[in-house]
């Protein structure tokens, strides 16, 4: 592939192609991408290796996947990992009980209305959502449902962005199980139907994984495959200000007065730096706080007032732990 043909993420939502995929995010994502992060994304797209993002909560790990999918017009399949999630859940689920139920229903009805209705041509593809009346228990394919990764593997005309959110929450073996799928030959088998699903070699999924490191490190073989980037909180006032600008610009909302933005950025960064936090607030908390300052009352909070304030307004948006809250109470 030459450089021109390659998918390249620029961090500019305007570059979105005219005809995006139907599963692509509809709303543009107000996301300011640093050069380092942009490069990590592009390298991940180029090598088709999973990109693992770590960092504090609320610094935009998850939103990045939306920004990438929006700009490139690619479908985004999000997979929220829970402690009970198995790697197979992301590929497909098979509903044997529903099939059993349908057999019973069919027998009760005495006839076989489904077979006449179900067009045999469409059986092979596009049967992810079959209306109940068209389900035929004779066809096991009607009872499989593809998960986020499964859907991405089935796309033939373009790659999909798969977001695997909070991978560290999952069971011990989960990352390793995932690896067997996210590597050559990029395929998996559906045991119940005997189908083999293979990703198109030109359009392998772009996988973005986030982790909070809640349960220790991920296994070494998994880390070996991944590209790793640690997302820092944007400590620079200019950077935070540009995030605010981008946020309001893309949302199409009226931004807060410039003075208020500057003052709140300064106040927030000072607080964040000088206080000893148990859980420091992230970018998303800051944006919420700014929104509250701007719009919660009839009039925006006055910037001069904010500068003079000793106790912070709307502390409940920034202090999320009892011990942080107690520190605040002691300080003021």
């Amino acid at each position: 592939m030459t450089k021109a043909q390659r998918l390249i993420f620029e961090g500019k939502p305007d570059l979105r192609p005219k005809q995006p995929h139907k599963d692509s995010p509809k709303k543009p994502e107000p996301y300011v991408v640093s050069d380092l992060l942009k490069k990590a994304v592009n390298l991940a797209i180029f090598l088709r290796r999973p990109l693992l993002l770590e960092g504090d909560a609320g610094c935009g790990k998850t939103r990045l996947a939306y920004a990438v999918a929006y700009e490139l017009g690619l479908p985004l399949y999000r997979w929220d990992v829970r402690s009970s999630t198995k790697a197979q859940d992301g590929l497909y689920e098979y509903d044997a009980i529903l099939r059993l139920h349908d057999v019973e229903v069919q027998r009760k009805q005495g006839d076989q209305p489904n077979q006449s209705k179900a067009p045999s041509k469409n059986d092979e593809d596009d049967n992810d959502d079959i209306p109940p009346e068209n389900r035929n228990p004779g066809n096991p394919k009607h009872y499989r449902k593809f998960g986020p990764l499964g859907k991405a593997f089935r796309l033939k005309d373009r790659p999909a962005v798969v977001l695997i959110d909070e991978i560290d929450k999952a069971d011990l073996d989960f990352p390793n199980d995932l690896l067997t799928v996210l590597d050559e030959p990029w395929e998996f088998t559906i045991r119940e139907t005997g189908e083999k699903v293979t990703a198109d070699p030109e359009h392998k999924p772009i996988v973005i994984i986030t982790s909070n490191k809640e349960k220790g490190n991920l296994p070494a073989p998994f880390l070996r495959r991944c590209l790793y980037r640690y997302l820092d909180f944007p400590d620079d006032p200019n950077e935070l200000t540009s995030i605010v600008e981008r946020h309001y610009e893309i949302r199409g909302e009226t931004p807060p007065p410039k003075k208020l933005v500057t003052e709140s950025v300064n106040k927030f960064l000072t607080e964040r730096r000088e206080r000893s936090w148990f859980k420091p607030p992230g970018t998303s908390e800051f944006l919420d706080w700014l929104k509250a300052l701007h719009e919660f009352e009839d009039k925006p909070y006055s910037a001069t007032q904010l500068k003079q304030d000793i106790s912070l307004p709307y502390p409940e948006l920034l202090f999320k732990r009892q011990d942080d809250w107690r520190n605040l109470a002691q300080a003021s």
Partner: protein, 385 residues
């Protein structure tokens, strides 16, 4: 690549050297990662040195800790390549010429990056533990050093004066994995697991659907007794033993009620302790009262190998204790945090002949767990010499 002065630097060589060097520093990298890096460089993801450094970091570092380990190595390799004086053969294959580095070289190697760094910073490079083969091939080389603790046994990396990396003989994650193997599943739980296959089979046999088939929930009936040596020569391993106990209790498949932990100092006498500070005394017989032939016992102690002394009293007391223990169960294993070659000449060497003793690494722990779950290997300390 145009921004490089080709006479000064060869990109491919830089990547290769970096790869070989990082692998020696125990970065978990395979040929796949090396090829990926080359592919990335070819595609223009390393157009200048900073860019290349960042690309390699992205690809090869899996944590912030590894990233900070990467930087000094990068600097030193860069300086080497610039200076045109290859200190190390670039290919692992060429190592054959000189299979064993002399101790002097080992020493040189350890302090090598010092000259590249500001004078304050000192750094001990990570070295693989001396392997058995090393000892086999050059027994005379290593034996005189036995008494002094070799630095390379502790994978200590001092990057900068203010960052110390923790030393874990076995990572917490590996501990969790290892405990998964200690299982004795018994299906005596509530009858509430839907057996889909059996249900479908029943329906097809009976010709009509009556009710689903349930199976009993399985639980893990394995019982574990941990006896942990505390204080004294075990002090450096407190963090590790705490992890071991915590993972066994909370993050294994074991029922927390089936995990008992008692502590002792040096040798368990007629009393052991309930807590790590050795204050709550329990008679040993009481501690062992819940033990039966199916209880697994894992002892964690250096058995005198840390100080390297051979004490007759200690050996006798331990033998007496083991004899007492064996009346309850034969599923006993001993985990020694000191590497095997340090047992030689100490009390541990004698004790290892009367109990299955393993050094503390992933293999040792999984062997120990094999023993305590009743699948002993044909293994004894004396046969492994």
């Amino acid at each position: 690549m145009s921004s490089f002065d080709p006479q000064e630097l060869n990109l491919q060589e830089l990547v290769l050297r970096m790869f070989v060097r990082l692998r020696r520093s125990r970065f978990k990298l395979g040929v796949g990662e090396y090829m990926a890096a080359l592919k990335a460089v070819e595609a223009g993801f390393g157009d200048d040195l900073d860019d290349l450094e960042d690309t390699l970091k992205l690809l090869w570092c899996g944590s912030l800790g590894e990233q900070s380990q990467f930087e000094p190595i990068w600097k030193s390799i860069l300086a080497q390549v610039r200076a045109h004086k290859p200190r190390k053969p670039p290919f692992p294959g060429t190592l054959k010429v000189q299979p064993l580095p002399s101790p002097q070289e080992l020493l040189d190697d350890r302090w090598e990056p010092e000259e590249m760094l500001p004078p304050l910073e000192k750094r001990v490079e990570q070295r693989p533990e001396p392997r058995d083969s090393l000892r086999m091939q050059a027994p005379n080389l290593l034996k005189p050093k036995m008494s002094s603790p070799p630095v390379q046994a502790f994978n200590l990396i001092i990057e900068e004066p203010w960052t110390l990396q923790a030393y874990y003989p076995i990572s917490r994650r590996s501990l969790m994995y290892a405990w998964q193997n200690l299982r004795r599943p018994i299906a005596d739980g509530p009858l509430n697991v839907l057996d889909i296959n059996a249900t479908i089979q029943q329906v097809s046999r009976q010709g009509l659907y009556i009710s689903p088939v349930y199976a009993r929930r399985e639980r893990n009936d394995a019982r574990l007794l941990l006896l942990v040596d505390q204080n004294g020569s075990m002090t450096p391993f407190h963090q590790f033993t705490r992890n071991l106990v915590e993972t066994a209790r909370e993050e294994s498949s074991l029922d927390p009620e089936n995990v008992g932990t008692f502590y002792f100092q040096n040798v368990p006498t007629s009393n052991v302790y309930m807590d790590t500070y050795l204050t709550e005394v329990v008679p040993l017989t009481a501690a062992l009262s819940s033990c039966d032939a199916a209880t697994s016992i894992l002892i964690v102690s250096d058995a005198g190998a840390a100080r390297g002394k051979r004490t007759r009293g200690r050996i006798r007391a331990t033998a007496r204790f083991l004899y007492q223990l064996k009346r309850y169960t034969s599923l006993i294993a001993w985990l020694n945090p000191m590497p095997k070659f340090r047992w030689v000449g100490s009390s541990a060497e004698i004790i290892a002949n009367s109990v299955s003793m393993f050094q503390t690494d992933n293999e040792g722990l999984s062997n120990a767990i094999d023993v305590v779950r009743g699948q002993p290997l044909k293994h004894s300390y004396s046969s492994s010499l």
